[in-house]
Assembly symmetry: C2
Homo-oligomer: 109 residues x 2
């Protein structure tokens, strides 16, 4: 069943997404700086290069702003610690419930 997103929900979603996006990128950047500062060998350098390629793919996959993908995307951002459910206040209860189900599923041991 296709989800409907009201304009108010789209606005909330966009704001939450952008906040999480900045947190993801800030975390990635801080990790890069620490790894680069700790690099001692040419192999460390190549590893950082490989990690950056992988990171770009992971981030592109994680930060997928299609309405059809947003509930699992928000769940992954919550599980990753980049987003708090409170920032999604304003979304319909059925969307929040979907997000919570994804989160529970991902958090299961």
């Amino acid at each position: 069943m296709r989800e409907e997103w009201s304009n108010a929900e789209k606005k909330t979603a966009r704001r939450a997404f952008e906040t999480a996006r900045e947190a993801v990128l800030a975390g990635a950047f801080a990790e890069f700086k620490a790894k680069a500062a700790a690099a001692r060998t040419v192999d460390d350098m190549w590893s950082i290069g490989d990690a950056l390629q992988q990171l770009r793919r992971d981030i592109d996959e994680l930060l997928d702003y299609r309405y059809s993908q947003l509930t699992p995307v928000f769940a992954r951002l919550i599980v990753g610690g980049y987003l708090d459910e409170k920032q999604l206040a304003g979304l319909s209860e059925d969307k929040l419930e979907k997000i919570r189900r994804h989160v529970s599923f991902m958090r299961e041991p």
Copy 2:
């Protein structure tokens, strides 16, 4: 015409190549460290990732230890400042002459 490499020449070539290889990698590593330390934004980080990919391709191309490729390779290493012709003492005069011709050609304005 196929070049012949005597065992003594191969030994000289290998020693010179390894010295130059270390210089290339040390230079690349120092440049990486400086760029990473200067990085201030996520875009800087992605640029460094792209540069590392390109660097790996360039280095693989530059450090090509096939006897059929060694005279142009040594010439490029000399032009790049990674090798001094003195380190090639022991190679036959015709090989040294070939290397010098490559160097002159690359250095032409």
